[in-house]
């Protein structure tokens, strides 16, 4: 019943309106989102360049990584090729990357300092009026769910954003949603006022229509791509599965603005959300 009330009250705010470029409001929280990026291929470098280009105008401060940060080998030279070099300009400029573990990652990547995981499989951090919760969806055990519940309950942030690898909702033909993960996480999100969720795993971009009052994005094509893998579905808000993408997000007060940008620099999706008013 409580969930139903939450959904009802949120419903009015849950429309994405095309807005054009980010408004770049002073003191807003600005960040980029990438996922399934660590291939070391030319396309990853192209996305890195587009990110640099967009940072010149948007000045985003940090980047969320939705997992599969490093595919294949994980030697020093491989990490250089699959992370340090594609994002060299951003790293040199002091842009922080916050990683989560995907199913292609070694859990010991949490010790890799540029990933800012603070040696933890799951962690949280705050920026302005937004708190971010990085989860390890490959191994969602009891202690992690307990930690998430407690951390969300203790959060005073206006916006609560979770990011992790496996999508709870997806219209991908190859993977689809992780239903068991959804069963365990969605009630925690709903009960504790999570506003928005970023995931990867599917190698395309998808903005889902809000599900039970929560915004969901899949950004899993910042290196890998599974062409034409997005199926027609009423739950697709907008999808793009013919080239690589990344996202840039700006949060100012109760408004969130987003853009999904392709490897060629085209804006393939953009919009504005109002923050949901949670009722607990």
């Amino acid at each position: 019943m409580r969930f139903a009330k939450y959904v009802l009250i949120c419903a009015t705010a849950l429309t994405a309106a095309d807005t054009g470029p980010l408004p770049l409001i002073p003191k807003s929280v600005r960040f980029a989102v990438i996922g399934d990026n660590g291939t070391g291929g030319k396309e990853q470098y192209d996305i890195g360049m587009q990110m640099e280009k967009l940072r010149e105008t948007t000045a985003f401060d940090f980047v969320l990584m939705n997992g599969d940060d490093i595919y294949g080998g994980k030697s020093d030279s491989e990490l250089k090729k699959k992370f340090d070099l594609p994002y060299a300009t951003l790293l040199t400029a002091g842009v922080k990357f916050y990683a989560t573990l995907g199913n292609h990652d070694n859990p010991n990547e949490r010790f890799y300092k540029p990933f800012n995981m603070n040696e933890k499989r799951y962690y949280n951090f705050k920026n302005g009026n937004v708190e971010f919760f990085a989860l390890d969806s490959t191994y969602m055990d009891g202690p992690q769910i307990d930690w998430l519940t407690t951390s969300l309950q203790g959060s005073t942030a206006a916006w609560k954003i979770c990011f992790f690898h496996h999508p709870l909702y997806s219209d991908g033909k190859f993977h689809g949603p992780d239903l068991d993960l959804r069963t365990r996480l969605e009630p925690v999100f709903m009960k504790n006022g999570v506003n928005l969720v970023f995931t990867g795993h599917e190698h395309f971009y998808e903005r889902l229509k809000p599900q039970n009052g929560i915004y969901y994005f899949i950004e899993g094509s910042s290196g890998e791509l599974r062409e034409h893998n997005l199926k027609q579905s009423p739950s697709v808000g907008k999808g793009f599965d013919t080239d690589r993408t990344f996202m840039v997000v700006e949060i100012a007060g109760d408004d969130l603005y987003f853009e999904a940008v392709s490897r060629t620099g085209d804006v393939v999706d953009s919009g504005k959300f109002a923050r949901q008013t949670a009722v607990h």
Binding site: Y71, G72, G73, K74, S75, D76, E78, L79, N103, H104, N106, P107, N108, E109, F111, Y112, K113, P114, N118, E119, S137, T138, Y139, M140, D141, G142, P143, I145, H166, H175, G176, P177, D178, L179, D180, L181, T183, R184, L185
Partner: protein, 179 residues
């Protein structure tokens, strides 16, 4: 009336015995895991502590050295040292309890969609770099005894492996963990 009471007492006593037996098996598992953790700690204490670093080489070197030390210390380790037959039977019962009703289809779907891996690993093997790790459905994890940090349950098809993530090494495995 007296007969009914006698039957009830007998049933309750049997249920109680079962709970005690399950608790003993779980306690045995916990002790075996704690013994392993103690061994690992002793070996890890001989190495420089792994801290956050910008060098992946340092991370991998730590992982490889720790794995080597564990392999040497457990050179006689065999499948079933931790997943003993009674513990395996109890684990199969617990995974069976998790897979009831709607859970069964949901767990199987989650497993199918999470890039299932088919390969043979032995106790002491490293989990191969470049091979994706199948996510372990949370509903299964919530039904199995909790593990200390650094140890994880992983599935390879129907085989459950106990993986030391710090050393990236298979500690033990049990076949036919899932129905």
């Amino acid at each position: 009336m007296k007969l009914l009471l006698t039957i009830l007492i007998a049933v309750l006593a049997r249920a109680d015995d079962r709970v005690n037996a399950d608790a003993q098996i779980t306690a045995d598992f916990t002790k075996r895991v704690a013994d392993y953790q103690q061994l690992k700690k002793t070996l890890e204490d001989k190495q420089p502590r792994l801290k956050e670093t910008g060098s992946e080489f340092t991370i991998q070197e730590h992982e490889h050295k720790l794995a080597k030390a564990i392999r040497e210390a457990r050179k006689n380790a065999r499948p079933g040292d931790i997943f003993t037959p009674p513990i395996s039977a109890e684990f199969r019962r617990l995974t069976g309890l998790a897979m009831v009703g709607n859970n069964t289809a949901r767990i199987h779907k989650s497993l199918q969609d999470s890039e299932p891996v088919q390969m043979q690993l032995k106790v002491g093997d490293s989990y191969p770099a470049g091979v994706p790790e199948q996510s372990t459905p949370p509903t299964l994890l919530l039904n199995l005894p909790a593990l200390p940090p650094g140890l994880e349950y992983r599935l390879l098809g129907p085989t459950l492996i106990l993986l030391d993530t710090k050393a990236n090494i298979v500690v033990d495995l049990m076949t036919n963990a899932l129905r």
